[in-house]
């Protein structure tokens, strides 16, 4: 005697991206903390020292935040005009920042007043940075010059005027104290050597350069500008390695994660994209405003993003500890002892074994189907939770009822409330290629059954109106797709005149499948 076979729910594989380790890694961040600054956040820089505080340059202030605090630990407010490019020295004790008026200020991290002021630039200084020896500061300015300053004496060591437009990007080398890279709005990226006092390498980015970034090995250079992100191989004399075009607005900032050196780019299109080592996008953060600056803390603990509307959004990494605290709050289940109770009993040789029949556990709708309560089974399958989160279960029950030939009975005799439920479900899923076939039959039967009484309920009538619209739109779409398919057919046919069979291999399967349901849908629309 066979037991009751439960309804088979078909799970169709979802199309789209696969879940990889990278996506899991980058998904593992908490929801962002929003901190309001006074103006657009133009620069974020993490201190290389242990607490990893970070300096946020926005408007006329530079705030230094702790890794987990939402209030600034320290703030530098002695700017008369907008401050730019606040960045730490390699030991995290000094901070340098440029400003709109052309002054460069050097701060002690504990002090409030500027230790040094470098004067010389005639226009706004947007980027400043320490060279890796820590005794010199390099700055790039809108007056087309790039200057190197001596920290102890506060004098200008050299001034290079090679760019022909504003300098808006700067990256010092960490390995060689005499090397730094600048990017400018004249579409070029230049590598300067202080020993020669001039550029040693020039690369054409093709768009105004917004940001340059050196890989830790300093063999690769990243430049962003326009919608492009370009990777250059410095060891090959500045050859372009890859050009990425994943954003649809200007890419304003780029940084590297410290685990695995993954590249992150932020853009005015409000997205942060994470690339893997072969430069495929593996993850995407969405923000609410255009992104101007971005930084990642060591060990990827924090991703801080600054935006044009003055909001600093900080994402912290989730840790297992946090999870544990969450779960510990929950009620503990029964102990292991309870589970194994009586199950580890070993029978002796002369014991009689009385086997207990294994009970078959059935879902509620299966139980109702087993006792032929078809209307109730359909009601169960149309319950709120099932129909919203598991529509395939609802559809499976509908298919099973149809197979038994009792779908009409199950749909008959319903009141307005339950009929709206069914119609809502139809509206939501009827154009889903997985479900359209059984749901169209449901639609047919509903119309057949309730044709006489439809006009009595305005709610149901409105829903039917909407259903008609949805189906009409779908039919139009399918027609267009068929037209495209026809065009493709002729194209392929003209491409391969000899071998009349080969083209079908290239023909995308999805299109083929799509056009299958066209005829049925359109036929149904006509009927309705």
């Amino acid at each position: 005697m066979a037991s009751f076979k439960p309804t088979k729910v078909q799970f169709l594989p979802k199309l789209g991206e696969k879940v990889t380790e990278d996506t899991l890694y980058w998904k593992n961040y908490k929801s962002p903390v929003q901190i309001k600054e006074f103006g657009a956040v133009t620069k974020i820089d993490f201190s290389p020292l242990a607490p990893h505080n970070y300096a946020v340059t926005a408007s006329t202030r530079i705030h230094v935040y702790g890794l987990h605090s939402q209030e600034p630990i320290r703030s530098f407010t002695r700017f008369r005009d907008t401050a730019y490019g606040g960045s730490f020295r390699g030991d995290g004790k000094l901070l340098v920042a440029g400003s709109e008026e052309g002054l460069i200020r050097l701060f002690d991290i504990c002090g409030r007043v500027a230790l040094r002021q470098f004067t010389g630039h005639s226009k706004a200084v947007h980027v400043t940075s320490f060279l890796s020896d820590g005794f010199r500061v390099v700055s790039g300015s809108d007056d087309l010059t790039c200057r190197v300053w001596d920290v102890p004496s506060a004098v200008e060591l050299s001034s290079i005027t090679e760019h022909t437009d504003y300098i808006r990007a700067l990256a010092p080398s960490k390995l060689n104290p005499d090397l730094f890279v600048t990017g400018s709005y004249d579409h070029t990226v230049k590598v300067f050597d202080m020993r020669s006092g001039s550029s040693v390498m020039t690369m054409q980015h093709g768009h105004p350069v917004e940001c340059v970034l050196l890989y830790p090995s300093e063999a690769l250079l990243v430049s962003t500008g326009g919608r492009y992100v370009k990777i250059w191989d410095l060891l090959k004399g500045g050859q372009e390695l890859v050009s990425l075009k994943n954003h649809h607005k200007t890419v304003t900032c780029a940084c590297l994660s410290s685990v695995g050196n993954k590249l992150l780019t932020g853009s005015l299109d409000r997205h942060v994209k994470v690339y893997n080592s072969s430069y495929k996008v593996v993850h995407n953060f969405d923000c609410d405003a255009s992104i101007l600056s971005m930084a990642v803390a060591p060990d990827d603990e924090v991703v801080a993003v600054g935006m044009t509307n003055g909001v600093l959004s900080v994402r912290h990494r989730k840790h297992k500890k946090d999870k544990e605290t969450l779960t510990s709050r929950r009620r503990r289940g029964p102990s292991y002892r309870v589970f194994v109770k009586g199950k580890n009993f070993v029978p002796r040789q002369d014991d009689f074994l009385v086997s207990k029949p294994v009970k078959q556990y059935l879902r509620k709708y299966d139980k109702q189907l087993k006792s032929f309560e078809v209307s109730k089974a359909l009601d169960t399958a149309l319950q709120m939770w099932t129909r919203t989160s598991k529509p395939e279960v609802t559809v499976a029950v509908i298919i099973e009822l149809n197979r038994r030939g009792t779908l009409k009975n199950a749909l008959a005799g319903r009141n307005e409330e339950s009929l709206t439920k069914i119609l809502n479900f139809l509206l939501k899923h009827i154009f889903d290629p997985r479900f359209s076939r059984p749901l169209l039959t449901v639609g047919d039967i509903v119309l057949d059954l309730y044709r006489q009484v439809l006009h009595q309920s305005p709610v149901v009538e409105r829903q039917l109106q909407r259903l008609m619209e949805v189906l009409g739109r779908e039919a139009e779409l399918q027609q267009e797709l068929l037209q495209v398919l026809g065009i493709l057919d002729t194209l392929f046919a003209s491409l391969t005149p000899r071998k009349e069979v080969l083209w079908e291999e290239h023909c995308p399967m999805s299109l083929n499948n799509h056009c299958v349901s066209v005829s049925s849908v359109s036929a149904d629309v006509c009927r309705i």
Binding site: M1, K5, L369, G405, E504, M509
Partner: protein, 791 residues
């Protein structure tokens, strides 16, 4: 051409066991049922087939226990005889010749020496007129007796044998026909009849379908077409009869049966639910659902401990009185139709075909036993008339038996066709097939045919469908475990008709109406097209082994066409004939073998099954049967096969030896020696059956002596040991001997290696044949001398 006496058609098995109600023996140890022209005896405990009572020459139509002797059973057959058997030993005791085709048999304790039989009113049984006759069986010592004392009890009775039943202690007999219930009282010699209206106000159908009488009470239970059960009482008075109605079945009641004490009434119908009604308490009932096919018969053992139901899917279920299924005896399942072809599972060599609805059945041909059902559809089966069910319509195995592809279909009649393509992989651990991939919309229209590639490394499935396309499916394209589409092809939008892979899988042939296209599966290039003479191609097949260059096709115009693919040359032959089997060699236009009128019934399918061991038959006419056997399936689900004389001889000899082996008591020595002997036999069987004959007496004398002596009188083990060793030594030389013979046989087999089904067999000239026979008969005993002389 060949004379037909050499190769003849034999019934192989797989016949219906559900034609008539099964009988449980009085001690509840055996179940007897009719099966084709024999009666089969099964054990109720182990469900094993013990033996069959063979002797009738036509369909056995009824069995009944002899009321005088509970170890004997009467059987009646359409050949006009009633036979009395001892069913435990399987011995025929007596044959009574009646002379008319018989259709059912009834016996009663009160009427000793009399059997009641259904015979046709007229001599041609096609007319629906049957009569019930009482036959007095003469007492005589002879084996064959002619019984001539026939007396008609009633004429115009229902052809359905379950519409007749004996009443309390055989006082009356009740039989129903259409809307009339008749009760014949033996004492009064009168018939009372009670009739119902054809339909009542509610439109119920009142026709009688079955009848049962209470064993101790004057009560008759009748089943009706609308599912009602009526209990008739007080029918001794013609006018004052009463009946009560009970209704549970939603369709016709097929069978009714009272338990021997009369406390319960069992009923069954198409719903496949056994219902037990408590007698006298109104509506209290118990159910046993999902037993299998619809219930045709129910019978109870005389002690009331066991019930037996027989089902439409050729199954007998043994049920305990506590309503628990304790055994299932399954014959070859008769599905609604054999939609899949007959196939052979390459792994178990079992015959595979449609079984229960939505299942594939695996049937062992060697043991004539149903192995298991594989659930393909995996859905609850609803027993309802007119419901469109999923059916397995296509199935295919790959060459190693690791993959199984099935197509199930629903909605053949209506417009919206649903079908699934499923791929199953063999699981070593569970020893059955496990679902791997379900493809919901493999094609846009019905799949016509499919085949696996036959290469060892990569498995590929090709399906062709009515949408004009053929698709190739592969497993593990992106390191995935499941199957996906690899290629879609078509040819001028023609509808494909069949497909086939060549033996080495280097070519794929797909036929499109009248055109055969040859493709290379590696590059999916269209290599060539072969255009056929008029007629749509139905089947395609590549040759094997030495004939792999041939492509054979059949067309709708009774043509068999053969292409030589190396030269693209064309050979053709046309033939026709009803119920005729032709066997061809691919390179010869004349048939090798012809057999007309294979059997009286319509043949549905046929399949070649490779033999376990090839036959040594050099006869030219039956050489094609050496390496495989041809099986047919008839409409009644009987399996037929061709058999040759040598094969029958061998079967006979093997069966007699088996009996000897059984008589040896199972002692530790026997087990020890049995193992040894089996090994020996294994070594010997490939060479020749006769080879181990001479050594048998030598070994078996000591062995039987050993085995039959009780342990306490046996000599000490040290003495025995030497005896053992010596016996082993002798058998070793015997083996040596047989090896010599094997060489001789090997040369024969080498010649025969190519002698497969569809391939060229080098013809042996008469002289060569004689030479070979001579070699086989040569005595190799001088070899033993040689070996013995070796230091």
């Amino acid at each position: 051409m060949v004379e037909e006496s050499d190769v003849r058609v034999v019934r192989f098995g797989g016949s219906k066991i559900n034609l008539r109600p099964p009988i449980i023996s009085t001690d509840s140890r055996f179940v007897l049922c009719t099966s084709g022209d024999s009666v089969k005896v099964y054990s109720t405990r182990t469900e094993e087939w013990l033996h069959s009572l063979q002797g009738h020459t036509n369909q056995v139509t009824g069995i009944a226990l002899n009321p005088a002797n509970h170890l004997q059973v009467y059987s009646c057959s359409a050949d006009g005889t009633v036979k009395l058997w001892d069913f435990i030993d399987g011995i025929l005791i007596k044959t009574f010749i009646i002379g008319y085709p018989l259709f059912a048999i009834y016996v009663s304790e009160k009427h000793e020496g009399i059997v009641f039989l259904h015979i046709a009113m007229d001599t041609d049984s096609k007319k629906e007129g049957f009569q019930l006759v009482a036959v007095h069986l003469p007492k005589s010592a002879e084996q064959e007796v002619e019984a001539k004392e026939l007396s008609a009890v009633s004429s115009h009775i229902s052809p359905n044998p379950s519409c007749t039943a004996f009443g309390r202690e055989g006082q009356y007999i009740a039989f129903a026909r259409n809307l009339q219930l008749n009760v014949y009282f033996f004492r009064k010699q009168k018939t009372y009849s009670f009739s119902l209206k054809a339909t009542d106000k509610k439109g119920a159908k009142n026709a009688f379908t079955c009848i049962a009488c209470h064993p101790t009470d004057d009560c008759i239970a009748t089943g009706h077409e609308d599912g009602k059960i009526r209990l008739w009482r007080n029918f001794i008075h013609k006018k004052e009869y009463t009946y009560s109605t009970q209704h549970w079945h939603h369709n016709a009641v097929n069978t009714l049966c009272f338990t021997p004490e009369g406390t319960n009434l069992l009923s069954g119908g198409i719903e496949s639910v056994l219902v037990q009604w408590q007698y006298g308490t109104g509506n209290r009932k118990e159910f046993l659902p999902r037993l299998g096919g619809s219930i045709l018969h129910v019978s109870a053992s005389s002690d009331g401990q066991l019930f037996c139901t027989s089902h439409s899917d050729n199954k007998i279920t043994v049920i305990e009185s506590s309503f628990k299924v304790c055994g299932v005896i399954q014959g070859l399942v008769k599905g609604d139709a054999v939609l899949t072809d007959l196939m052979i599972d390459p792994r178990s060599k079992a015959l595979v075909l449609n079984g229960k609805p939505g299942h594939l059945q695996f049937y062992s041909l060697l043991r004539d036993k149903h192995l298991y059902n594989l659930d393909i559809v995996q859905q609850e089966y609803i027993y309802e008339a007119g419901l469109d069910q999923f059916e397995v319509v296509k199935a295919a195995f790959d060459i190693k038996g690791y993959w199984l592809a099935t197509v199930e279909e629903r909605g053949q009649k209506s417009a919206d066709l649903e079908f699934f393509l499923k791929l199953w992989s063999y699981d070593e651990r569970t020893q059955s097939f496990v679902l791997n991939t379900t493809i919901t919309a493999a094609h846009t229209d019905r799949i016509i045919s499919m085949c696996f590639s036959s290469s060892e490394e990569t498995t590929m499935l090709v399906t062709i469908a009515e949408d004009g396309q053929f698709k190739a499916w592969c497993q593990g394209v992106d390191d995935q475990n499941f199957w996906s589409c690899d290629f879609v092809g078509s040819y001028h939008n023609l509808k494909p008709t069949n497909c086939s892979f060549s033996a080495d899988s280097s070519l794929l042939a797909v036929s499109f109406q009248e055109v055969i296209t040859i493709w290379s599966p590696d590059t999916w290039e269209l290599l060539t097209t072969l255009c056929q003479p008029p007629g749509v191609i139905r089947d395609l097949c590549f040759g094997r082994l030495s004939c792999s260059k041939y492509l054979i096709s059949t067309t709708t115009r009774n043509l068999l066409c053969c292409w030589n693919l190396l030269t693209c040359a064309f050979l053709m032959d046309s033939f026709s004939g009803l119920y005729t089997v032709f066997v061809f060699k691919p390179n010869e236009p004349r048939p090798l073998f012809t057999h007309k009128n294979v059997c009286s019934e319509k043949i549905h399918r046929a399949v070649f099954v490779p033999r376990e061991e090839p036959l040594n038959n050099c006869d030219e006419s039956s050489q094609w049967l050496n390496r495989s056997q041809l099986y047919f399936l008839t409409q009644n689900m009987d399996l037929l096969t061709f058999s040759t004389a040598t094969e029958e001889d061998r079967m006979l000899s093997s069966s007699t030896r088996l009996v000897i082996d059984d008589s040896v008591a199972v002692t530790p020595f026997y087990l020890l020696l049995g193992k040894h002997r089996q090994q020996q036999q294994k070594l010997n069987t490939p060479s020749h059956q006769a080879a181990d004959r001479p050594q048998q007496p030598q070994g078996s004398v000591t062995i039987t002596e050993l085995l039959h002596t009780p342990a306490h009188v046996l000599p000490p083990a040290s003495v025995l040991c030497s005896m053992f060793v010596s016996s082993l030594l002798i058998s070793n030389t015997g083996e040596e001997d047989s090896e010599g013979e094997m060489e001789a046989c090997d040369s024969q087999q080498e010649l025969r290696v190519q002698g497969s089904v569809d391939e060229v067999t080098p013809k042996l000239s008469k002289a060569q044949e004689r030479e070979l026979k001579r070699v086989r008969k040569t005595d190799f005993s001088w070899m033993a001398g040689l070996i013995a002389s070796k230091p």
